[in-house]
Symmetry: C2
Subunit: 374 residues, 2 copies
């Protein structure tokens, strides 16, 4: 802030950066940068003495860095939403990961990510509570003639009472992501550990595998064929899980949920397999209308939970897009209609977040508390 | 090769690159570069139109890349040893990961790695055989007041017969690496899956946690205090594993092994805890001498297996360093002396490899076939 001679305050907005930056929780061990301040600004730093032009690229905006005498470039972004964001650096025209950050698979690449502390970060904090395991399994898929990978969360006491069986949630990532997203970015295992420790959710198994979505050309979702993935999930992975884990393998104890593209997959697969799934979660994407309900057989008898959620900023932008109705109808109105028809349907809005992981962490947190309770 | 007018062949060695490059198996999904050819050369490519100077940095040598008209830089290394290697790119003085490769934790950073096909890669190939799981566990450590992470390999049939109990191997990474190394770079789980499928190894559990080695200043190993890690491993992790997994928890069924710095840790911890460990594996680092044996109580009665290994190139370089004897003695002579004293001791040399992961994959492959058989 500069106090001018005539008493008028002149405060150019771009320069009022609060200087309380701290290393991010997603930094590599021992790395000071990237940093985040209390406004949610991201500050990066990299040594590139011979470079001409270095930029930070986050949330679709590029910010120029400034070089000091020792060849170190530094700069920061505007304030970001709470939660997790992908980013990258540009060095003389090359897009590269920041060597200071941990790496995450999203936007169809392993690259930098950063955590902006959130007011509700306690829901996914690493605490001294009993922890479940996240296990990598490798299963043979006949339909694709390949050994495929999934991650399986088993709740804290899974290995204590070997007679106990658990319900199962199949949980899908979004377009450009893979089976690592829900634990690395989504912190699904920590959300469940904390909910179970507080007695807020029933213990259940979560299975996360690759949704085969990245072969889809962007914009070509209308032509997406669910069949190949449905075969892997329903005919190959579910029997493998029911053989190798202590599951309750009947329809009342099997759920599916997904985010964005994964919510479309969830809707398509569950609506065609209502004899196999009873609980449905749709985050930031699909919703279920009364038209869908009426087209299905015995939907009201078979489906015990429909959960639909969005980020608050997604809802805002929908209001300006009346064409939204053409793509499955308004999700809130759809869900209200289900409720009015006596279906156990819930609509959740994540405050002040967009199409991003903080919306989906909160969605899982809400959804998990409703799951397998009917 | 250029045939000159007078019939003399002129073949500058640096230019005889065999043009049979293929994308590496460690590339990110859908990425063409980096590539490897049949000589083991690594070719990288990156778009950096404004850059002045781009280099590939692998096995401690930097290779200049060449820019084409569209701003894409390309270049390749000299032939590399079979197996896994860390590398990075330099763009105008900035050291960054290659955006085309997967990332691995080593050299104290998450960064690029590349796989050079090996003549014996079948031992760690992903095959359609029964696969074990690799589970991330989180356990509270009172001595460090932190929630710590380990990865646990359980063999293929672990979840089939819930009455069966298994021996356990505690397996340590090297300096600059962490608990992800043995599965990501070492492919320990695939080596075990294949050995078990062929009936060559007894099924056992493997536990991999962080050896707390990266706080050591390079060159300061003589001052290394094993106590903090020994407390975490012996007093905290072992009881956690024996509570949460179906282990055979007596001394005859517990082993420890490690590579490089991890072999030093293994020697220090097992020699002080012979009531807890019966099988010992030391890869590319420590060995056990008759002096060590004589200082310990009941070594010959308690220790059922001592396995010591090195890369062939490590053995070569030792011959030129007679001072080696000061650091615990010649490892082959030490191991021969143990054999002569009636101890079940084995010395293995990995052909044509150095202080690198291919030596350690082969060491595990050999060691696992000897484990828990006495």
């Amino acid at each position: 802030m500069i106090l001018l001679f005539n008493g008028i305050c002149f405060a150019p907005k771009a320069q009022t950066v609060v200087e309380d930056f701290k290393p991010s929780s997603t930094n590599q061990p021992g790395k000071d940068y990237p940093m985040v301040n209390s406004e949610g600004r991201v500050r990066v730093q990299i040594k590139a003495p011979e470079a001409q032009h270095v930029q930070l690229d986050i949330s679709a905006v590029k910010y120029d860095l400034v070089k000091d005498a020792s060849g170190i470039w530094t700069g920061e972004s505007n304030p970001q939403d709470e939660g997790f964001h992908y980013y990258q650096l540009w060095i003389d025209g090359a897009a590269v990961p920041d060597p200071g950050s941990l790496y995450f698979y999203g936007a169809m690449r392993w690259g930098s990510g950063i955590e902006i502390p959130a007011h509700d970060q306690d829901i996914y904090a690493l605490k001294n509570v009993p922890h479940g395991q996240v296990c990598q399994i490798l299963f043979f898929s006949k339909s694709t003639n390949s050994v495929r990978r999934a991650f399986v969360y088993t709740p804290p006491d899974y290995d204590k009472d070997l007679n106990k069986q658990y319900p199962v949630l199949y949980l899908q990532h979004g377009f450009g992501e893979d089976e690592t997203g829900w634990t690395n970015q989504g912190k699904a295992n920590l959300i469940m550990d904390n909910l179970i420790a507080e007695g807020k959710a029933k213990p259940f198994i979560i299975v996360m595998t690759y949704g085969m979505t990245n072969d889809i050309k962007v914009g070509g979702l209308r032509d997406f064929d669910i069949k190949p993935f449905q075969t892997v999930l329903v005919d190959e992975l579910i029997p493998f899980i029911d053989t190798n884990f202590r599951t309750l393998s009947d329809q009342p104890h099997r759920a599916m949920a997904g985010l964005s593209m994964g919510s479309m997959e969830t809707k398509m697969i569950t609506m065609e397999n209502l004899d196999k799934f009873s609980n449905i979660g749709l985050f930031s994407g699909a919703s279920i209308s009364m038209d869908d309900v009426n087209k299905a057989t015995d939907f009201k008898q078979k489906v015990k939970l429909v959960f639909v959620s969005f980020g608050g900023r997604e809802i805002e932008s929908m209001k300006n897009r009346p064409s939204r109705g053409a793509f499955g109808g308004d999700p809130k109105e759809n869900t209200e209609a289900l409720k009015n028809a006596g279906i156990n349907a819930h609509f959740y809005v994540s405050p002040n977040t967009a199409h991003e992981w903080q919306s989906w962490r909160r969605s899982l947190y809400e959804f998990a508390q409703l799951l397998f309770k009917n």
